[in-house]
Symmetry: C2
Subunit: 319 residues, 2 copies
């Protein structure tokens, strides 16, 4: 059992000395010897951090009740196409952090492949392959900015282009909606496409300059944003999922470098090497008014032989 | 925005160096300058510990999804008389810890008042006062062990008895149920009573030796117990809430010192100074076969002028 709290006094902000120093270990030690090692590892760390949090802020009982009610409210707000716990994680940066944890590859040579960023809920396994140079814009919105997008998918170690790599992209239209969520304005596969790199690792196609949009502003997740005084906007972005059988795949989002929400992205998924520089062009054969060039750096699977792509089915019902 | 993760290598178990060292502060800094100071303090600590937990165990995306689903399931299991988030907190020791944080009084003289323990959901504001020496057992169960309970409520500083202090007690019957949840077997106020101490601070009454019971073994909270290989039992206990206008009140639970679940209480609410020693007696005028003596030590409110009792309404719908 827990021992009676030692009443030692300590002027420092470290509150741990005021409270029973054995309590947290006591709770951890309640786990059975038969508990699976990974369960033990994760739950021990969870209990430790949960307790440290309570002690650090000297959580009052009233605040604890608010927290209890909040956790209950998250699950009560859950429904199809609305995964409230996922949203709260996004707002607290947890999805982006977990993405980093699972995609950081440490190499001896300090090679830097293109950063990973969260998949989001709108990737489709059915996106069609399109010819290099074709357009993903099936339904042109009036305020769309037609853009020529091109680049090279390179080996991060050798710098050489990778032939037959797949650049799978998807983006929202200017109304902030993706094709399947906007059947009145968009045909299926609008603003989606897979492109296979040529013999030099090059790919090129036409799309829209992406535009920013707000996440849903109701429910417990939005309440959390309000308490923190944060806006609900995501910076404009183009999603990409780049794959090749011999390379570690990269899923990320690419952002215009002049977007006003880069620094304050609701889901904290912006990274320095994921920025796009849109430049005006003239006399494009297909009438594009903007051009953007972006190269992707992939690491050979020899650096992480067990790497797999994201579990894409898990977040079908995210929003 | 977050910077691209530094690829420094570090053989130690500290994983922080593998990941972007600025990410957590970035998320914290998204809070507006207008965020209330206490909100900022609590949320900053929460974000920090949540992120540290993810990095420490290198949480996989599959595990994160399990966690997301678990949080949603908590709220989905919530209903009247079933506060699932509260139950999960109890299993993780959080209610007991918050209770300690809110009731630890640090004095210069290292005085030790009787420890606090969680209120639980079964306290009643309507419990009647009873005469000293009377019994709370209105409905005697066949397997009940009739007990003479007596003690002194003392000033923890002077050791003197406190007249006119109130010892409010409640306990489950031998079937593990409290009166209002067991109308077929128990009349209202069965096994509940308030006693006012005499001029010497003494109180005495008759009750049952308490018996252990299991918490509900369904739902997400019980799943958590199973993963940890833990049993669902609470040690037998008598609840008490001791009050006096000039003293800091104490709410706690008292446990037979021979209970098999003291060390492994489901809600981690056992403390060394809350144990009862039940002894056989003979020739008791009311026929008690057991006797127990327990003194309570209260601290003057001068040590904590702003102390208040628990917010008792908040947990009416706990179970």
């Amino acid at each position: 059992m827990a021992t009676n709290g030692a009443n030692s006094t300590n002027g420092a902000k470290d509150n741990s000395s005021k409270f029973d120093p054995n309590f947290t270990q006591h709770v951890i030690d309640l786990m059975s010897p038969e508990t699976k090692p990974r369960h033990r590892e994760v739950l021990s760390s969870l209990i430790k951090h949960l307790h440290d949090f309570c002690r650090e802020v000297e959580l009052t009982q009233e605040e604890w009740i608010i927290g209890v009610n909040y956790v209950n409210a998250i699950g009560q707000a859950y429904r199809k196409n609305r995964n409230e716990a996922w949203r709260v994680c996004d707002i607290l940066g947890v999805e982006s952090l977990v993405d980093e944890i699972n995609h950081t590859v440490v190499t001896e040579k300090d090679l830097s492949p293109t950063s990973s960023a969260i998949l989001g809920p709108f990737w489709s396994p059915d996106t069609p392959f399109r010819d290099l140079g074709s357009s993903v814009v099936q339904d042109m919105p009036k305020d769309g900015q037609f853009t020529f997008f091109h680049g090279v998918i390179k080996d991060a170690e050798t710098g050489k282009g990778i032939p037959d790599a797949v650049f799978d992209m998807w983006q929202a239209s200017t109304n902030g909606k993706y094709d399947t969520f906007d059947p009145e304005n968009q045909s299926r596969h609008n603003l989606r496409g897979k492109f296979r790199t040529d013999e030099n690792g090059k790919f090129w196609f036409y799309c829209l300059k992406p535009t920013e949009y707000a996440i849903d502003t109701t429910g417990p997740s939005a309440d959390l944003l309000k308490i923190m005084g944060r806006h609900p906007y995501r910076p404009a972005h183009i999603h990409m999922m780049v794959t090749h059988p011999e390379y570690i795949g990269v899923t990320a989002q690419l952002y215009p470098n002049d977007d006003p929400y880069l620094e304050t992205d609701t889901v904290s998924a912006v990274k320095d090497d994921l920025l796009l520089d849109f430049k005006p062009i003239q006399n494009d054969p297909k009438g594009a008014t903007l051009e953007v060039e972006y190269d992707v750096r992939l690491l050979s699977k020899k650096f992480k032989p067990d790497s797999t792509m994201l579990m894409q089915n898990a977040n079908q019902d995210k929003f």
